[in-house]
């Protein structure tokens, strides 16, 4: 641009049509186009990553929402069931007898191969039915039970029949037996309710999210019950009452720094203080909730301060003018008006808390627990730590279950964020 000669008015005007100039303009335009292309490529890469992630999770996860079941006709022979202690009868043997009846042409060795079709939980499902209704003894119980993970994989196409037998998790005899069951129409693939009704299990076909779900809810309740009042109290003080002095500055600096401290450091704090010093229950939602409350405090304080700030001063002045005390002004007028904004910020903080994993690993919320917690004071897992446990498990069935658990977690996050957006749209006031 510097070599554009000034128009001196002597007729020596700049030649806008000269090829050299055109070339320069074209070059400048080209630069512009490249910048646009780079931007578009970057954005599509980012969105592409997101789509790839969702698609890969969905394609591996959808299989876990169904579970292969087999329908059995269990003969409940009164001689095999101890009438004094129904639950203590040899249910394993009863199940084996049932299988032997289904495959009459197999010898003992062949039956041993086939035994693995049933899930380890199948005998307990039969047991529980009979314990609940002892009048079933002596009849034949038609019951649908889950098959074990390898056969579930086979049914869903996870095991390639063309691989050599030695490299396959199921041998030819087992596949043949399964195919026979399919032919007889005994195999079905209903919705996998176990994923939501059961707690964790070593066996993928029995493992579910109930324990993790309840653990997460307890944890969020504790976190919410502590972080919200403390956060609102702190924000009101800082925004409405705090004098401009060193102490207030110190608090603000602390809050800003806490927001940027890596989450795993909060885990170390919880381990050293809550578990080691106070001796609280290891792995309990109480400790997890306390830890995450400290972590979400900055988010809630910042959101609350922003929405308090958004309430116009005229409201405060009007209230003060008719004789309200400063606290009455805040609690009767400013806080109610700021509440939608505060709740939005709180929901977003809770959405962050529900996905937080690292500090929970340090306080032992990744234990293997097969029962849902009944109080916040006993060891439990949460959704993200359950995902971590499953992702670490070697069984094939846990891969799809991990993806499914992630899909459930993402669905909860979408709902929480949706609620926050709805709150904002519904109640937000512009002054």
């Amino acid at each position: 641009m510097t070599d554009i000669s000034p128009d001196t008015g002597t007729g020596n005007r700049f030649d806008w049509t000269a090829p050299a100039y055109r070339e320069r303009v074209r070059k400048r335009r080209r630069g512009e186009t490249w910048l646009r292309i780079a931007g578009l490529v970057s954005i599509s890469l980012a969105i592409g990553f997101l789509l790839l992630m969702l698609v890969s999770l969905a394609t591996t996860g959808y299989k876990a929402f169904t579970q292969t079941h087999v329908t059995l006709a269990v003969k409940l022979d009164p001689e095999q069931i101890r009438s004094d202690n129904i639950a203590g009868s040899n249910w394993r043997q009863i199940m084996q007898a049932t299988l032997a009846e289904m495959f009459p042409d197999l010898d003992t060795a062949g039956l041993r191969e086939v035994r693995g079709i049933l899930s380890d939980g199948a005998q307990f499902m039969v047991r529980d039915r009979v314990v609940a209704d002892p009048s079933l003894i002596g009849t034949t119980l038609n019951i649908t039970v889950p098959v074990s993970d390898p056969f579930d994989q086979l049914n869903k196409g996870g095991i390639d029949r063309n691989t050599p037998e030695a490299n396959r998790r199921l041998n030819d005899a087992q596949i043949a037996a399964f195919d026979k069951l399919v032919e007889q129409g005994l195999i079905s693939t209903p919705f996998n309710w176990a994923l939501f009704r059961n707690a964790d299990s070593r066996f993928p076909e029995l493992a579910g999210l109930k324990g993790a779900f309840i653990g997460s809810i307890y944890l969020l309740l504790v976190c919410f019950a502590i972080a919200l009042p403390v956060g609102i109290g702190a924000a009101i003080y800082l925004e409405e009452f705090a004098p401009k002095n060193r102490f207030s500055d110190l608090i603000e600096i602390n809050i800003n720094n806490l927001a940027a401290v890596p989450s795993v450091v909060f885990g170390l704090l919880a381990l050293a203080v809550f578990l080691n010093y106070f001796g609280l229950m290891r792995g309990s939602p109480l400790v997890g909730g306390l830890t995450l409350a400290l972590m979400s405090l900055p988010t809630i304080i910042i959101a609350t301060r922003a929405s308090l700030k958004a309430v116009p001063p005229s409201i405060r002045e009007a209230a003060l003018g008719i004789g309200a005390s400063r606290q009455q002004v805040v609690f009767h007028h400013v806080l109610p008006l700021a509440m939608p904004g505060i709740m939005t910020g709180t929901i977003i903080a809770m959405a962050q808390a529900i996905g937080e994993t690292a500090p929970l690993l340090l306080i032992g919320m990744n234990a293997f627990i097969t029962a849902a917690p009944s109080t916040p004071f006993e060891s439990a897992t949460t959704l993200p730590t359950q995902i971590f446990i499953w992702a670490d498990s070697p069984e094939r069935g846990f891969v799809s279950r991990t993806s499914a658990a992630i899909l459930v977690l993402l669905a909860i996050l979408v709902m929480l964020n949706g609620a926050a957006i709805w709150l904002r749209r519904r109640f937000e006031r512009r002054w």
Partner: protein
Amino acid sequence: MTSLAFLILFAAVIVGYLLNRQAAAQIRAGGIRLHSLDGFHGLYSALLIGLPGLIVILAWLMFQGPIVDRSVMASLPPGVLDGLDAGAVALTLTEIKSIARGQVFGTPAEWKVAAAELLKARNASASMALVVVVALMSVALLVFARSRVSAEFRARHGAERIIFGLMIFCSTVAIFTTIGIVLSLVFESIKFFRMVPITEFLFGTRWEPQIAIRADQVAGQGAFGMIPVLLGSVVIMMIALVVAVPIGLFSAIYLNEFASPRTRNIVKPVLEVLAGVPTIVYGFFAILVIAPFLRSTAASAGFEISPNTALAAGICMAIMLIPFISSFTDDALSAVPRSLSDGSLALGATRGETMLKVLFPAAIPGIVGGILLAVSRAIGETMIVVMAAGIIAKLTINPLDTVTTVTVQIVTLLIGDTEFNNPKTLAAFALGMLLFVVTLCINILAIRIVRKYRELYD
């Protein structure tokens, strides 16, 4: 028992509120003007009863267990704990506790059963004492609060003073948290540095924390040099930045300058979705898709890479950082005064030239601040690397090799084993200290830069 204490306290609070409010109303009915509204008299009583009671119950809950445990352990017959180290003593206590809960395995020694009985008895009497203390205190405060109701009593001032104190307490929680973090890290680190010299930790080039926990165990000597671990964090952080910074910058430039408002309204929320995904999901994505993809790509190119390659973790971390960097850049670009870009456009510069030669240089400090924050995030990020990176520390900067990071080591050292008397677990706190200091310095620097830059244009 605790719930009974809570119940008593709750009832006392309600009774106190109603009693005082009614007393004030009675005075008012007698035609006398009160200083405060009836409700404030009630509120004063409720706060006066509720707060001390709550503090007592919470403190009791926190300290009853440890104190009773200690007293029981002190009353054990002399000699039974001789020659046991801290771990074995803790194990004995756990055994006594489980006997007290009724979970008896085998036939425990007689003194353990006796100790369990004692533990049960002391816990029961402590809970009883809690209920009695709370009840007595509530009644005393109830009577006291009721006695103060009078026309002149400034109940509103009293109540507001208590609420004000509460709010100050709430805002100091942040300070206490910081103090708690620093103290717990410092104390455990000091314990660690008593066992391992600080110079070895800071300058050692070998990280092999697999030491023997029991005397008869076969394991290495253990080496605690943090250099390879920190280097691993830096390698993964660099990979993430190399991928994320250009993508983040260019998307922000496009969104800020070229995109139509409609595109902007669609793309920005989508990027925010990327920021809201929990990091454990990225970690699983790394082992589910990215690592196998990299491995098969490398295999088809004819060489083998480690299954826990730093590249996979780095790429996943980059995806996590893209929205972070792009939103920071977008904010920085938007903060540049309109007059600068208007001036540039008026001189005949194209939009691209305005962006690259005017807006971008003006926004550089803000962008650098954002990138620094991204660096501190990448170093502190835990779940992605725990799932996708390795656990063996190697002194390498090869992105295809397996590396470990500070956060991975903290988690692996502390999962499952929390005896606080061996260097293996304490090393995690020293690493935590390192992590805390490094991220804090970067954050302070970043905030400084951003603030200074904001002042430039405000």
